[in-house]
Symmetry: C2
Subunit: 326 residues, 2 copies
């Protein structure tokens, strides 16, 4: 086009915009960040130069200079499991409009990987970090504390939180389900779920409440996290009349397995899931479940990230939604 410095390299810099607009670099910087401080005429000239050059600010340089990245790190066990998608959505919907970006990482329920991802995330200097659950390792927790940024633990109510919390009481959820089964006259309960900490707490509450209700000790099946495992589990659940699945996906699988085994739901077995995925309402029989508002968790986590005011440990609760499966 012309011989402006922009033709030298692909991406124009703020200085090149400044030169073209006949102003100093700092003025261009202000047009981008604090337009009110710049006279309208100047601003227009600068904006024209930016447009002509196709200028895209370099936030990595800006972040270094200002010590503000305008980004938050988000660490989830996995995104494929629909259960956390709403939470990610909630986070991103509350933070994106404010100019924050989301760095997403997955731990895959693996402690080593979690620690690695935590440090990879922290290396990018997010202004806050939101994770599902709590750090599994002491080293992970230490890193988070040293980072001196807001940290939000979600989907749980840790006894000893690092900073903020947006979650619910997993143990109480287990208790509620066991009591429900007991009051419905079911006697031989079972629990299916993974071996991660939150499922463990659900189990603990479930077991305890079953005992307190005078039922025989419930069975626990530790499964891998996909719905297919739920299908297979049905075969090992003969004789059980109330099953709490640690998440809805497992419950859907279980329902399918039960159908294959010719067992009636809810007549022969009651099934309760956790999460309240939309599909649960739509299938037949409609899934009874522990409703968790994953999006609210995400929104709350996002908000806790932005301000240090107010209560920082928030219990979003859950509710037992009894539909057709038990």
């Amino acid at each position: 086009m012309d011989d402006s410095p922009a033709t030298t390299d692909g991406t124009p810099t703020l200085a090149q915009v400044a030169e073209r607009a006949g102003v100093s670099p700092i003025t261009v910087s202000r047009v981008v960040r604090l337009p009110d401080l710049v006279a309208a005429a100047t601003r227009e000239r600068v904006e024209a130069a930016m447009r002509e050059l196709g200028y895209v600010p370099n936030l990595v340089a800006g972040s270094l200079a200002s010590a503000r990245t305008r980004a938050v790190g988000v660490l989830v066990p996995t995104v494929a499991n629909a259960i956390f998608a709403d939470t990610i959505q909630g986070i991103s919907d509350t933070l994106e409009p404010l100019g924050y970006a989301v760095f997403l990482a997955q731990s895959h329920y693996d402690d080593v990987r979690e620690e690695k991802m935590l440090s990879a995330l922290l290396a990018r200097r997010p202004e806050a970090l939101i994770m599902v659950g709590s750090p599994a390792t002491a080293a992970g927790a230490r890193m988070l504390r040293r980072a001196r940024i807001p940290v939000v633990e979600t989907w749980d109510l840790p006894a000893n939180p690092i900073d903020a919390v947006a979650g619910f009481d997993n143990k109480a959820a287990g208790v509620a389900v066991a009591r429900h089964f007991a009051s419905a006259g079911r006697r031989k309960l079972a629990f299916i779920g993974g071996d991660e900490p939150r499922a463990g707490r659900r189990w603990a509450g479930f077991y305890q409440a079953a005992q307190e209700a005078g039922l025989e000790p419930p069975l626990r099946l530790v499964l891998s996290r996909n719905a297919g495992a739920g299908v297979a589990a049905a075969a090992d659940l003969t004789g059980r009349d109330g099953v709490f699945a640690a998440n809805d996906a497992l419950a859907f699988g279980l329902l399918a397995g039960l159908r294959l085994n010719g067992r009636g739901v809810p007549k022969d077995v009651g099934v309760v899931g956790l999460g309240d995925l939309e599909i649960g309402r739509l299938i037949f029989p409609a899934l009874s479940t522990v409703r968790i508002d994953g999006e609210a968790i995400g929104q709350t986590a996002g908000r806790l990230t932005l301000s240090r005011e107010g209560p920082r440990q928030i219990d979003l609760g859950f509710s037992l939604v009894i539909r057709e499966t038990g």
Copy 2:
């Protein structure tokens, strides 16, 4: 602890590590990035200093200096829709082990927002950008071209791609479903879906193939994207005997609505979804669907991001999976 410079500010810098280890900053940098270039004894000394100080490298500074961010931007319409979760997972699983981070943004099927997110993403200087679909605006496309980084468009086969593609032929999917309905003797077809480009292409193929098969012109219902809309749609579909839902979630809702309306599936109406969510296999009647391997799309996109070699427009295809709904 002691009077090392680290006590001054929260986060120690590379220079502070260097001082404590008695080496130059560049040596510390090498221990982090190219440990083989450093003598074992020196390396151990540096590593000890890093441990003692709790050093976490500052990648934003490193990125600026090296002009490499080791990050990719990912833009999806929404993460709540389970259909893209597998793709994000595929991307992140192939890129994270190589040290890349993922910047995640959502467009919410909104052109303005998409453009905004694109430029926000680009401002962070990702080394590649992966998006579902193609930029909706010319400005968006221009930004991507100017960025001079690998760009992967997914979930579609754009006629005029910016760079790489990992997708499938949405129109052909529509054709396949219409032909299937026709050969099953269904005469009065309908299509339900959003008004976004990919759904539009599915409709186009569906419509065309229905015409070619001599059926009367199918009906198109434009719905919002949640499953609830599928439930409501059932009422407007009386008299139709074959319905293609642009995604599985809508299909689940439709199935529920049809049940409420007392219409038999597949006897009275056939229903085919798209995506092949795991649940579709588990419910009864099991959902017929156009199977898309979202995870493979993500993995392929990730791979296309890393190397400029080989074919860059990859059609991952789809397959029609007829189960119990039609």
